[in-house]
């Protein structure tokens, strides 16, 4: 099978799997139960801000305002999302709609980003 055909085949699976709705709302309910171990760590928000600038700002904007297809992370649904839900989003991404998975970052760094996202 040619690369192109495999690409089209995978794209078809992708479209079928992507579904609709905001990403934070598509996280399974059980994800929300996970507690953030760095919730009250004083270094977590500045470390998370550094990681955000490095990993996320190119798509979501320097001030989390959103750009093109990457939504604003200041919008109420994201601000109200449980830490565990945001952690689930970072682990899995939304590969068929342009949000990469950040599972390669150690868990501690993902929690630092979550702490930063929820601080305002």
């Amino acid at each position: 099978m040619s690369t192109l055909r495999i690409g089209c085949f995978l794209a078809a699976i992708g479209i079928a799997a992507a579904g609709g709705g905001a990403l934070v709302q598509s996280a399974p309910a059980i994800a929300a139960k996970l507690q953030n171990p760095l919730e009250s760590d004083e270094h977590a928000p500045p470390a998370g801000a550094k990681l955000y600038a490095r990993e996320c700002a190119s798509c979501h904007g320097v001030n989390r305002e959103g750009r093109r297809n990457a939504p604003s992370l200041n919008r109420p649904a994201v601000q109200a999302a449980a830490p565990g839900t945001l952690f689930w989003v970072l682990r899995n991404g939304s590969l068929h709609r342009g949000m990469p998975s950040f599972a390669h970052l150690p868990e501690a760094q993902r929690w630092q980003i979550v702490t930063y996202l929820r601080g305002r």
């Binding site: 690369t3 995978l10 992708g14 190119s58 590969l95 949000m99 760094q109 630092q112």
Partner: protein
């Protein structure tokens, strides 16, 4: 070259120069692939060199220039340009490879499969040693460039990449099958790697010398014969500790000494590399092409 093509090439080059470099903090492996894909729209460019000296042969430097682009979140495409320099024999361009990686599952699991498909058009003098298959060994590395360059190698290669992240550790296994498009049997090989960063949490400040920026690991790779003669008899195998250090600017430096573990393997290989990543390169190139700002 038509004006339109030239314009497109210039736009792409300008986009590359004008785009801010971002964090190329990929793992420390040279040979083993993990299931980490390039971020959609980002372009990573890297140079990787391997230095070695086969028994009775001349010291060589095999280098690849690598351009890795995130087409989508689940599809990464990569172009390699290969060259080598051998002492007393000169330097030459040895060919190109084009690979595509497709992530097969949309969510993160314990084990994450990725399908890798590559076409390579290289000659027999290629010494980049990006994978070891079949009975590849130091004998082939010792054959003179003047002869080896005339051997054409048009090959298709497939890999099944399995990757896992467990408590800060990255574990990856690659199974390789390669076939010359015209003749020769299917050739097999493998690569496995384990790595982890020196610190799990990030420091709040921008830093060069911090443990979170350093990743250490070890790779094992080698040949597994052909479908007619499958097994490890007479094949090459290497064990290679590896270190990657990402600077605050985002540039990653890697180094890995490799040690041959069988008589067929080259005794010692030293690999080093540098990589940079341009964020949202695709968008910048498109905008520039349409006459906007990068």
């Amino acid at each position: 070259m038509t004006t339109a093509r030239l314009k497109y090439l210039l736009a792409a080059a300008a986009a590359l120069v004008l785009q801010p470099l971002c964090w190329a903090g990929e793992g420390p492996f040279f040979i083993t692939y993990t299931h980490q894909m390039e971020e959609p729209g980002n372009l990573e460019f890297a140079f990787k060199t391997v230095m070695g000296k086969p028994d009775g042969g001349n010291r060589f430097f095999g280098t690849v220039a690598e351009f890795e682009y995130g087409v989508t979140g689940w599809w990464t495409s990569e172009l390699y340009l290969d060259g080598q320099a051998t002492r007393r024999e000169g330097a030459l361009f040895t060919g190109y490879r084009w690979e595509n990686r497709f992530r097969l599952l949309s969510h993160e699991h314990w084990i994450n499969p990725v399908l890798y498909l590559e076409f390579e058009n290289i000659n027999g003098a290629d010494k980049s040693l990006l994978e070891i298959v079949n009975h590849d060994g130091q004998e082939a590395l010792g054959s003179p460039n003047a002869e080896a360059r005339f051997e054409k190698k048009r090959e298709m290669e497939a890999k099944l990449i399995l990757g896992s992240y467990v408590k800060g550790w990255t574990i990856a296994e690659n199974f390789i099958a390669e076939k010359n498009v015209r003749h020769a049997p299917f050739e097999f090989g493998y690569a496995v790697g384990v790595s982890r960063p020196l610190a799990m949490a990030a420091r709040p400040d921008r830093c060069n010398f911090c443990a979170e920026n350093v990743q250490v690991g070890v790779e094992l790779y080698g040949g597994l014969g052909t479908h007619e003669q499958f097994g490890v008899g007479g094949t090459s195998h290497y064990i290679a500790p590896t270190v990657a250090w990402t600077l605050a600017s985002g540039t990653t430096l890697r180094i890995s000494p490799g040690f041959g573990t069988t008589g067929t393997s080259a005794g010692y290989l030293l690999r080093f590399g540098v990589s940079y990543e341009a964020a949202q390169f695709g968008r910048a190139a498109r905008n520039l092409f349409r006459g906007g700002r990068p």
